[in-house]
């Protein structure tokens, strides 16, 4: 079982068992694959350099759409916003997910503020994707998923995914509490 995160002199420290590290790295990789846009040969290199994409519509995959929501109600403005920001949001997320995956290679995690923030955002993206797959849209849905607490309850994909969601939630909560403690103590 993972050691809860705590704020120490060198930053935030925590510990993960080998199966937990494997699971997290796999989850981060999956989210990276979901986020990385397919390379386009006909793309304008200048547009790519400036981070301007072709996308103006929300992603069809509801899980990806949750990671890249619309920026504003007005349809035209939302399309324009997406064209100018979606690529950079994807890239920022992928960067944090890669950093998080690397940090999870070691059984003992020692995180400075940047790495801690990257891991908490990466865990959040994993939870958003899992929540979309589990159909968590209301507090009642969240409560239904929270009923799974023991790995022995894993008997199908749904229950396994719910247990993974609970584990990642617990880990993120523990990390963010340590990060808040660090802000309070002024060692940030």
């Amino acid at each position: 079982m993972a050691t809860p995160f705590r704020s120490g002199r060198k930053g935030i420290v925590g510990g993960l068992e080998a199966p937990e590290r494997d699971l997290l790295r796999k989850l981060f990789r999956d989210v990276i694959l979901t986020l990385e846009p397919d390379p386009r040969e006909d793309e304008d290199p200048l547009a790519r350099l400036l981070g301007i994409g072709e996308e103006t519509e929300p992603p069809e995959d509801p899980a990806l759409a949750r990671l890249l929501p619309r920026g504003t109600q007005d349809e035209e403005a939302a399309a324009e916003f997406r064209r100018f920001t979606e690529r950079s949001i994807r890239e920022a997320k992928v960067g944090r997910l890669r950093m998080a995956a690397m940090d999870c290679e070691s059984p003992r995690l020692e995180l400075d503020d940047e790495h801690a923030a990257a891991l908490s955002a990466a865990l959040n993206d994993v939870r958003l994707i899992l929540a979309a797959r589990l159909g968590i849209e209301t507090e009642q849905d969240a409560a239904r998923v929270a009923e799974y607490s023991d790995w022995e309850q894993a008997h199908d994909v749904e229950s396994y995914m719910a247990l993974v969601y609970q584990f990642v939630s617990w880990l993120q909560e523990s990390l963010v509490e340590a990060m808040l403690g660090r802000l309070d103590s002024g060692s940030h």
Partner: protein, 119 residues
């Protein structure tokens, strides 16, 4: 960060001629320009953060504190407003800044939108 920024803005508008920005008066009105006057004439764009059953209350508080630099008290109040009332306005100001904050909040995984005041 925002608190400091607001204070700087007040100092700017009350002592120096305003820069040629959208929504700002061409000339300095007579007398002191206080905080309330300044915010009434500010470009009316806002960033709203919406409630969802996934984002942890602690995480939302952390993002408000670390990204916007809000105090513990302010971050907590805004987080509770999101959680209990369904949404909260976390920024009011220019459109460009509102879009930048929305982009950053999407990066953190928060559900945020920008809109013109009154929409």
């Amino acid at each position: 960060m925002v608190t400091t920024l607001d204070r700087d803005m007040v100092t700017l508008t009350s002592t120096a001629a305003p820069v040629d920005a959208e929504g700002l008066p061409e000339t300095v009105p007579e007398g002191e320009v206080g905080l309330l006057e300044r915010s009434r004439s500010a470009p009316p764009w806002k960033v709203v953060v919406w409630n969802d059953p996934v984002n942890l209350m602690s995480y939302v508080t952390f993002v408000f504190r670390s990204y916007f630099g809000f105090s513990e008290e302010k971050a907590r109040q805004l987080m509770l407003a999101v959680h209990e009332q369904g949404s909260a306005v976390v920024f009011t100001g220019g459109r460009e800044e509102a879009e930048r904050h929305t982009t950053a909040l999407h990066g953190y995984g928060l559900w945020a939108t920008f809109a013109q005041e009154g929409e």
